[in-house]
């Protein structure tokens, strides 16, 4: 050990690089290494006589307020992105999906009947409306809550939003074509009437029914 020390002593005769240079070295090593670097490791890599701790102090100071900072991780040091810029490191990928049939129908009913309660939607669609469908439309900001109805339970109502109108290129919801126009435009299929109790609705998946029940509890 003492031998080591002597060697070091003699080697410091080859003067240590100037502090500015030591700072550069610390900068490069911290940048390139995959893990935080301890002062000891850093010093081991730098030329003899270097003072890694001091170099780090200078380096840390230099990066104050910059886009990256020199931070202490345990007893080692590393570069890290400034926390206020973390959002730049996020990349959004946008995926476009077709709206489900249940959601389109619900949306259509709200658009044509607004302000419209959930019960009314269910009455018109003939099936319960899942909470997910409403939430999705709310989240998309195509519908929003309207005034509560002055009926028992004071149910909330839904109305369409300006974003909805914007998306569909409508000035007001009143611009939506009426049934007659839809028929004239050939948009109405003349389907045979379904069974007396509208059994056709069973095609709406069971999960919706289940969800419908759970909704009772959520409400």
């Amino acid at each position: 050990m003492t031998d080591d020390r002597e060697t070091t002593q003699s080697e410091t005769l080859f003067e240590a690089p100037p502090m500015a240079e030591q700072e550069r070295m610390a900068e490069a090593v911290l940048f390139a290494s995959a893990e935080p670097v301890s002062v000891r490791d850093l010093e081991a890599r730098m030329p003899h006589g270097s003072d890694a701790a001091e170099a780090l102090v200078h380096l840390r100071k230099r990066y104050e307020g910059r886009g990256v900072r020199v931070v202490k991780v345990g007893d080692a040091w590393a570069f890290r992105t400034a926390p206020d810029l973390g959002y730049l490191m996020q990349k959004e990928t946008v995926e476009t999906r077709k709206l489900s049939r249940a959601a389109i129908e619900t949306l259509a009913i709200i658009a044509y009947h607004q302000p419209c309660t959930r019960a009314e939607i269910e009455e018109i669609r003939g099936v319960s409306v899942s909470r997910g469908t409403i939430d999705q439309l709310l989240e998309m900001e195509w519908i929003r809550f309207g005034r509560r109805k002055m009926t028992p339970g004071r149910p909330v109502t839904f109305v369409v939003t300006p974003q909805f109108l914007d998306h569909f290129g409508l000035e007001t919801a009143r611009d939506l074509p009426g049934l007659k126009e839809l028929r004239a435009a050939g948009l109405l299929e003349n389907r045979p009437p379904p069974g007396p109790l509208g059994l056709a609705e069973e095609e709406d998946e069971d999960d919706e029914v289940i969800e419908g029940q759970s909704e009772l509890f959520e409400d």
Partner: protein, 264 residues
Amino acid sequence: MSDNDQFQEDRLSVNERLAAEALIVDVDGFEGPLDVLLMLSRTQKVDLRKVSVLQLARQYLIFVEKAKTLRIELAADYLVMAAWLAFLKSRLLLPPDPGEEGPSGEELAAHLAFQLERLQAMRDVAARLMGRDQLGRDFFSRGQREDVTRLRRVTYSATLLDLMQGYARIRTRDEFRPFVMDRDNVFTMEQALERMRPLIGFAGSWTDITSYLPDGWDSDPVRRRSATAATFAASLELVKEGHLEIRQSELFAPIQLRKRTVRT
């Protein structure tokens, strides 16, 4: 043949002979005839642009002959090159025949010199390229990647046509249906609420929820189901409003209701 060899070899310097022999020993180490020619041309110790192609052709032919005598397997390329160089040599040595077609010996020689120079140039720059500072050896990229977090956002789309068709689908369905009749078998939550509100004031003790079903709704299963659901929903609404307490002792056990007593 051997005479001829002798004759030519005498005209080569010691260095050239040594070089030629060295070549023969490891002919495998060469990358084809052009590589050999390039090596041979270096023995001329001149600028490649001034290389004597005639001399080079002779050197190469000696090389091939030697290889043959040493029974070294030479690839066909080497022999094709030898034949071509023999032809080139004759062209360069004989006075041009004006009646003959094709490029002159000088043109052919110039092109060979160009090929050698170009190959040498490519080798030089390849060496310079590899001598450059290299990533991961002399300079380094960020060791610790701060990976970009990917946020997946789903947007849903629908067209006006989807919307209208959806609406039309529902409305046409209704048009063909005796809608009013349906209502006969549906007991809504609003109705249930209306019915229960005045009743709950009297529910001091736990009462089965079925006792709140309206009259005439308990025989038909369809009607009973609707009425039960609506009554249950209405009860929950009343619980939420703080008017009612609800309990069920176990799964499928009767659901019981009681007026909520305000404790102080």
